[in-house]
Structure formats: structure tokens, C-alpha cells
Symmetry: D3
Subunit: 218 residues, 6 copies
């Protein structure tokens, strides 16, 4: 029977869901787990504050409690909202895309840099990094100055990402770049080509670790 990895976009911006889902296409295989991206209809249009992050947590936990079909869950927002609450709510594996992106970045170079959406994301990310004791590997975290919706749909998102990515690489010494928002998914390949160093899409990173978690030989 096909396994299901439920990937929940906790904001209600379906364009973000579509974008991250498209980026997962190369990971979808016949016989492999379903990588099912869904939108949390009651979430805010973007998760851009600690308040947004906390308000969606119970919605995510409720979803997981009621979703009997999924074999694993991915919380597809770079703030990893509700990660520990959801892990209390279900015995099935729950992944946060930020945590998985950080973990993946550790395998690609000695230091990483994060492209964030807004200036206020940086202190929130720092708390999460420190909570995981991964801060010594972080070379920098720089914001684009764009909301989630602007990141997803804005005309100059990629130009800004290139500029900020180059600053992380050249001024901060980052050897790997993490795209710090699920809405940046489609820019991974061109950004990698432009910067010449590995670029991590957090939703892909989480999907792969989830796939491995379910990969138990029968």
C-alpha cells in the first residue's frame, strides 16, 4: 500500500503550496510515498511573526490528530511552527522544514547562511538555531525584506535572493545557502547556478528525510 507523507503548508496561500509541491515533483515516484501537499485553510496568509507561528500550532496538531491516513507529516514553514506540540499529538514522525534544512546543510559544507524573508525573522531563527545548538555552524542570516506573498509572487524575488546569497557567501563566509521560506522553492536550481555553492530547499530536505524514515524494508 502506498505510504503518504502529508506536507502541510501552514499558511493559507495556495500559491505557496503549489510552488513547494512543484519542487517535490522530482521526488515523486511510482510505488514511492505520496508527497501530498495541503494548505491549512485557516492559517494566516503568511507566517511572519511569533504570533503567526503560535496561532497555527494548534491547527496543525488538530490536523494530525484527525488525519488517520498519513504515515508522516511535514510542517512546511521555515519557522517550524508547532513542531513540538505536533510531536506530542501524534506518534507518527513529524518534521519541520527548517530543522531538516539545517540538518541537510551540515552535510554540504562547513558553514551555512540563511536567506530570510523579513528582518524580524532573524531573531526568531536565532532562537531556533540556538535551541538546536547549531548556531556555531551558521555564518549569517540575512533578510530579503519581503513578505511570504511577495517572495512567492514578486517580480524581483530572484534578483534579491542572488544579492543576499552573494553577501552570505562573500561577506559572511557561508559555504551552503538555505532558502528560508517554503515559497522560495522554485529558485533553488537557478540560485545554485548563480552562486556556485549548494542551495537547500527546506521542503525538499524534509521530504527526503521523511522518505528515509519510512523506508523500512519488509
Amino acid at each position: 500500500m502506498t505510504q503518504t507523507i502529508r506536507i502541510i503548508n501552514p499558511n493559507s496561500n495556495a500559491a505557496v503550496t503549489d510552488s513547494m509541491s512543484a519542487a517535490l515533483d522530482p521526488l515523486r515516484r511510482n510505488g514511492g510515498p505520496s508527497l501530498d501537499c495541503v494548505t491549512l485553510a485557516d492559517g494566516p496568509f503568511g507566517i511572519e511573526s511569533e504570533a503567526d507561528s503560535i496561532r497555527v500550532a494548534p491547527l496543525l496538531a488538530d490536523w494530525m490528530r484527525e488525519d488517520n491516513e498519513a504515515d508522516a507529516f511535514v510542517i512546511a514553514c521555515y519557522s517550524d511552527p508547532g513542531l513540538h506540540m505536533c510531536r506530542e499529538a501524534t506518534d507518527r514522525p513529524v518534521f519541520g522544514i527548517a530543522e531538516c534544512a539545517l540538518a541537510t546543510a551540515l552535510t554540504r559544507g562547513g558553514t551555512f547562511g540563511v536567506i530570510s524573508i523579513l528582518a524580524n525573522s532573524v531573531a526568531r531563527h536565532r532562537r531556533h538555531l540556538q535551541e538546536r545548538l547549531l548556531h556555531p555552524r551558521c555564518a549569517g542570516d540575512r533578510p530579503l525584506g519581503l513578505s511570504v506573498a511577495e517572495v512567492e509572487g514578486g517580480a524581483d524575488t530572484f534578483a534579491r535572493m542572488k544579492k543576499v546569497g552573494a553577501q552570505l557567501r562573500d561577506e559572511d563566509g557561508a559555504e551552503v545557502i538555505i532558502m528560508g521560506c517554503a515559497g522560495m522553492a522554485r529558485h533553488r536550481a537557478p540560485l545554485e547556478a548563480s552562486l556556485g555553492i549548494p542551495v537547500i530547499d527546506p521542503t525538499q530536505a524534509a521530504a527526503c528525510i521523511a522518505i528515509g524514515t519510512l523506508a523500512v524494508a519488509v
Copy 2:
């Protein structure tokens, strides 16, 4: 065209290669990357010392330099032999299974424990952990007192793994267990069932991260 992830067992024990390859079966999909496990014929029968680890490094780098077909490489030994030498030798991504197992463990719990093969593995692992600054997340590293070959083929390997795993969980506080040898691959599912906490097979962990690295939408 199919992508190839070359997974090199740097010891010459083909039973270990077979065992790790079997554990990757659930990750093999039509259209997905080939997960091609090969044996380094000139490697020692087990990598059980710093000397073993260093002696195989140039062999691995030579392989990668000559292998024009692979899209990414995995060094399938928990000592990550030659990891940085290989990264100098090729521009294609190179993964060490220990590094990938550690990264993956970070996404499954707050602390991890490592089941090692021999007592002398522990100091080597500690140096690698510290080099990556992940030592604050390690609850313990305990040896089985078995060589690679004994781990692979021994009758009481699983019994010992259960005992050591329980010590890591109960005495050291590990929330996740890493199987610290590619030859332990087949024990993941029963060990997870026995211990009731996540168990990481390092070769699976590396294969998944490698798959994600190659997963660029076209």
C-alpha cells in the same frame, strides 16, 4: 536519463555491501536515481582504525576521479574515510554516511546515541563529532566489541545491539539511536521495534540526502 548515486563500501567485505544495498531497496524507484552499491576491492576487510580510514581515502578519491557516470557519491563507512579528500577530487556532491546519520538524527529528537563496533571507534567518532560541533547533541557512544565482519555475520549481533541501545536510551538519555556501521543495516526495523525510539541507518540517511541533492526540477 537516469541519475546514478554511487554508494561505495570502502571495505572489501561484499556481504556488507549486499546488506546495505538490501536496506536501500525501499528507496529504489522506477525513474528515480540508481542507488548503485559497489565494493572497494582493494579496501581492508573492515575499517576498524584510523590507519584503515586513511589508507582507503586515496582509493576512494581515485574511484571518484575515474567514475564519470555517477552524479553523486556516498562513502558508506561510519568513519567517513576520505570525505574531505574526495570533495577536493570531484565537484560532484560527496556524502559521508556518518555525517548524514548525525544530521538525520538531529531531526528525530533532542539527543542521539551511537552504537559503535569497537572500543577504539569511540575516540575516532568523538573527533569527528567535535569537528562538526555536534558533540553537545550526543548522549553517548558505546561499542559492541565486534569487528565489522562479526557485526555483519555474527549470530548475536542483534542481541548486543538491543542491549547497547537500551543502555544508550536509559542510562545516557539518548532519544534517537544511530547504528554506527554500514553492516548493521538490516537491524534497523527490529531495533526500532525493540527500543521504541527512532533508529537511523546511516546508509539510508545518506542515500536520502543524496536523492534530495539531485532532485532539481527541470
Copy 3:
């Protein structure tokens, strides 16, 4: 005009509020700030999980947004629920009693130990400690195995606290003890007498730091 420090017990157990308020009596002075302890009527009867901690966060932020009278706020639960959300919600100072207890403990000895309520508190506390990078100063965190209500009203609470406190001091090397629940407030003096090392009541610790924050000479 009198300054007001609003000290919010985020659980709905009024006996806990009364107990913490009594412990603040020695800090109440004519002309000094009002130390006004209130109960969050809609909170759970005890905050004993990540879920409890997250669910009260918006209630606390709402309170602060609507409370125009208070000059500073104290969140009187050792999980510091909603601390960063509340700091987004108001420009007035917001204190968490755990954060203040940790800070205060640093001034009384080289290492501290925490008496927690339940086994599941320990991992939550560890995340908070690490987020603040204070974990290297923590000698141990040991649970009583009691709920908030049992801690507050239980007959053998003090006996258990003495036992756990002695373990933290003797086995873990703690030089200072933090009482890890607002409901333990009345036991500070006898516990200090029994153990012979400093004991921190987190609500007192936070009230004092809040008083200092408001103490600007006119």
C-alpha cells in the same frame, strides 16, 4: 502614581495564584509597584505540556494588548509560555519566570539544578535552556512526578522536593536550586534551610527584575 506589575498565572488554578502572591508579600512596599497577581481564567488547570504552553500564549498576548494599566508583565509559569509572542504584542517589558529564575541562579553559584513537576517537563526545559545558551551552567533537571495541582496542594510535595533537591546537590553537583513551578513558592525558605544552598523562587526572581526595570529615578 503607583506602578503596576501584572503577574499573570496562565493556568486557571487560583490556589497557585494565591500561593505565588503570598510569596511576593515581602516585596510589596508602600510607594513601590503593585505586584498584582491575576489568574488567566481560560487557561488550563495546569501547564503540563507543549500544547498547554502554546494554547495559553494568545490568551496572554491578548491580555497584555488590552491591559492599559500595567507597566510591566510577568508570565508566571516555568514554561515561559508565549514569552516572545507577548513581547511582539506590547512595548512594555515582559518577563518569563523561568528566564528570570535562570538569570538569578547565575548570580548565586556556578551551577544550578531544577526541580521540575513532570518527567515530560525536562525535555521542554532543555530546549528553553539551550535556546538561551545557559545549558552549560545546568547541573541537572529532575522531576517530582507531580502535576501542578498536586505540587500546589499535595501532602508530600515538600518531602519530594527535599529528596530531589538533595539529589541535584549531591549527585549532580548543583550549587543552587531552582523551583521549577510557580506552585512551589511557599517551599523556598524551608527548602533552603533543609538543603543549605540557595533556592530560587522563579516568581520572586521575576518580580525583582521587573521592579528594577521600572526603577528609573525621576
Copy 4:
């Protein structure tokens, strides 16, 4: 009976004592502990070196040994001279204002910056920070280039403090400012107003923690 917190200015500059005492006025309350600031007549005119710091230590310990009236002591110099020697000399609580300022800063933001008096203070502070393992929270430590006496009485002290405080905030990323000398006490409110982030007066910070330490309900 009234409790007494003896706050000892270890330098012999009475103007510094007066200045810190004035800053404690908002913390003095009927029925509350006496916050009694005294000058160490035999101390140097300013503590501006390791030598100064060591030479006053025995004088402070002698004072505490002979002072039977005080319930707690505060060493009111940002070098915390003789802190551990004094703690050996008396069983009553002894606080260092630097240690208390650091602790208090941790409750107001993620990182702090220190305004020091002289360039040679910085290495001394770094040793103290590291001894306490709080260095990862320090964003910067910048000197004014003024002696203690100049800080206390100089015409342009505040102008320099504003400039250095802004550098700590803007270039180093400090979210909280610690005034690194007891003689800066009167500048807390205007500096806070100017910089828009919390400013810690170390003597106030220590007085508040000392008050809490003595606040045992009867």
C-alpha cells in the same frame, strides 16, 4: 527589623558612591531593606586594572568579616573585584554588579553590549564573561576611553555613551545595553530614551536581586 543590603563602592571616589546611591532611590521603600551605599576609603580612586581589582579584594573581604549588621553585600564595581574571596569570607549572600547586570540583561533580549570605561577593561571583561560561559550572548564590548573619575564627572560622558551605545546596537547587534561602570548610573534613563532599547544599570540590577534573595516570607 529592617534588613540591610550593604553596597560597597570599592573605589574611594565618593562622587561615584553618591551617584549610584541616587540611582537606587526608586528602590528604597519604607519597611524594605536599607540599601546602604558606602565608600571603601582605602580603595583606589578608580578600579581600572587587574591590579586595582586584586588590591581591593582583601579590603572587601575584611569589611564583610567585620560587618555584622548587613544581611547581604553588593560589590559595586563592574570588575566584580574579590567576588569569590568575599564569598569565602562570609556565609551571607555576596553579589557582584557585573554578574548581576549580565544576568539581568539575559532577561531583556537575546544579546547584550557593554559600554566599558577604558580599552584595557575589555580583555578583563572577556575573561569574566567566559568564566561565566555567557560570552555567546555578548554582541560587543566597547570602551569610552574615560577613567572612572572622568566617567563620573566628565562633561561629555553622556555624548560618548550615546555614540558607543549606538555602535553596539547598530554595528554589533546588541539588543540590550549594559552600562559597564557604577559611575554611569545617572545616565540610564536618558540613554534608554536615546537608544530605544533596554539599558541596565549594574548597581540597580544587583540591588534588585539582593532584595529578592532576602525576600523570604515569614
Copy 5:
């Protein structure tokens, strides 16, 4: 002209001076620096507290200021009393034997253990270790329960050192042993023979680093 390294025993126990001087004999060579061990006549009979450590600091600084002949100084007490005050007092190199022993231990193994004299030494050592950020390499610090004089002259000193050294090696995992008192010097060789792991005599360690510092080719 012969160089002089002045090695100052800051306690007034001449037997300790003789003992450390004897241990330096294998380092004394024709044409090499004079390793001149002197006794601080006004020092306490043993440095066994923070107070002792602070009280000798000015005496050491005075000595160095007045000693025009020495090319470098060693403070031969494992508390490194007055190290930073002495470095202020002279431009010539000043070494602390604890700091040099710690540094040397780092070159002999992954972790070290310290044999201390008294229980109260341990917290003092911990502060010094943390100040140098070397605490992550320390496996343990265990006291003999002997004063300096008892260590020097006691009949069962070596028996206790063997026992404590074995505990550090076997229970704490120390790979190198530091003898935490200058008065233990004569036990290095037999202790190394007994334990089978490297043993560091701190005075020897400092003398060697001092010799290297002066070794500038002409």
C-alpha cells in the same frame, strides 16, 4: 649570556620549592636558561583558597617589578595566582603552571583529568577552565583531600594519587592526567608507570613553554 627563567613558588613551603626544582633537573642544560626556583617568603604555607590566591598576587607582581635579571617568570602554583596582574606589571613573559599544564595536556590526548588537593579547589579550577574555554576537554577534577603540605610530605600521597588517577581514567574517561599541585612533582614518573597514560607535571610544562618562548635564534 645565560637567560634566566625565574620560577616562583608563591607559598612559603621550601620543601615544595625543592621538590619542583628537582623535577626540573632534566631540563637544566649547560648554555640553556637557568631554571631558578625561588620561594615567596611572605606567601602562605599553602595556597588553598581564593583568599590565599589573591593575597599573594601583589607579592608576585612586586617581585617581578623589582627583578631586573629574569627573562621570563613562572608562577608555580596550580591556582595561577595573580597571573593577569603580573602580566600588567611586566612586559616579560609570565606563565601560570595551570595554564601551561592544561595547554600541554591538550597535546597528549582528547581529554584530561585533574588531581586536585582539596575539595574546594575544584570550583576554583572550574572557573579557571571556563575562563580559558577549555572545560569541554576536562573529563573530571577530583580532590585528594590533602593540604599542600600534606601532599608534599605525606606518606600516603602517592597511594591516593594512584587511586584518584585511576578513577579519572576509568570512571571519567580521562586520557591524560594533570597533577594539580606543584608539590606533586616527584610523582610524575611512577604515576605514569602506574596508570599507563601520560601524566603532566605543571611546573615542567611551564618551564618547557618558557624555554621555547626565549628560544630565539641569534
Copy 6:
């Protein structure tokens, strides 16, 4: 009988061997250990990559296994190639000059800076620093942009070292400078004179620690 410390230059550039040997002259004494510098004839002309570092490791271990005369060994290359492999190969003490230089630097100041040869040395050094957990003491590591041979024989080596050393001191805050290549040995004295802060020659540092290790009174 004279003791022998075999100091092996793992590159085949005899000029480097001569240069380091000359720098050891002030440490050679009648009756003292022989400081015998030898060239690894089969080594590369310079060790300038991870590959070079790994390829010489077995040669070094073989040498030590066959060399029955030496009492201790020094691996005289700042990459410490084969350090742990050699320690497996012999029970006699083996020192790496980088490890010894780092240890020695800790005794001369609070922070150190490293003058490296090539840009690609920096990441390799960072891994070694982190493996030893000494990275928090490193203020900076800056390359000259010269190969080993150019460092040894180049006309402007010293001019570049002065410039890079001044940057480490002034921009990075290094209080001690480590010369990060055995071929820089002759520049220690003039560089120290030019910069006004301690300069460590790693081969001297290792020789001194090796001398101390062998200095057991008979």
C-alpha cells in the same frame, strides 16, 4: 644516553627542513635530547591540500614503526598529517606542530590568529580547530597566498607576513600570532619585533613540549 626527538618534515623540500632545524638551534644543548630534523623523501614538495595530508600519513606511520631509535616524534607540518594514525602506530609520544602551536598560543594571550599559506588551508585548519574545540579562542586565520616553497624561499614572504599579522592583530583582535607553516620558522623574531605581540613557531613549540615529555628525572 642521549634521547632523540625525531622531527619529520613530511614534505620533500629540504630547504624547509633546514630552516626549521636552524630555528631549533637555541633548544639544542649538550646532554639534552637530540632534535633531529629529517626530510620525508617520498613526501610531496609541499603539503597544500587534504590529499597531500592524507597521502603522507602512511609514510609517517611507516617511518615511526621502523625507527627504533627515536624517543618521541614530531610531525613538522601545520596540517598535522597522520597524527592519529601515527599515534596508533607507536606507543612513543607523537606531536603535531599545529596542535602544539595552538596549545602554546593559549599560554600567551586570550586569542590567537593564524598566518596560513593558501586560501584553501583555512577550512582545513578550521576543521582541526573544531576537532580540538579550540575554535572559540581563534580570532582569525588569514592566508598569505603562497605555496610552501614560496613561503620558504620567496623574497616578499616577510613583507606579506607583517601585513597579514597586522590585520590579524588589528582587525581580528588576535593577541598572539601563530606562524601556520614550518617554513616560516626564521621569521619569528623579526615578526615579533614588528608586531609587538608574541609569535609562535610551531616546530619550536612542539620541540619544547616533546622535551618536557621526555624530561623524567632518574
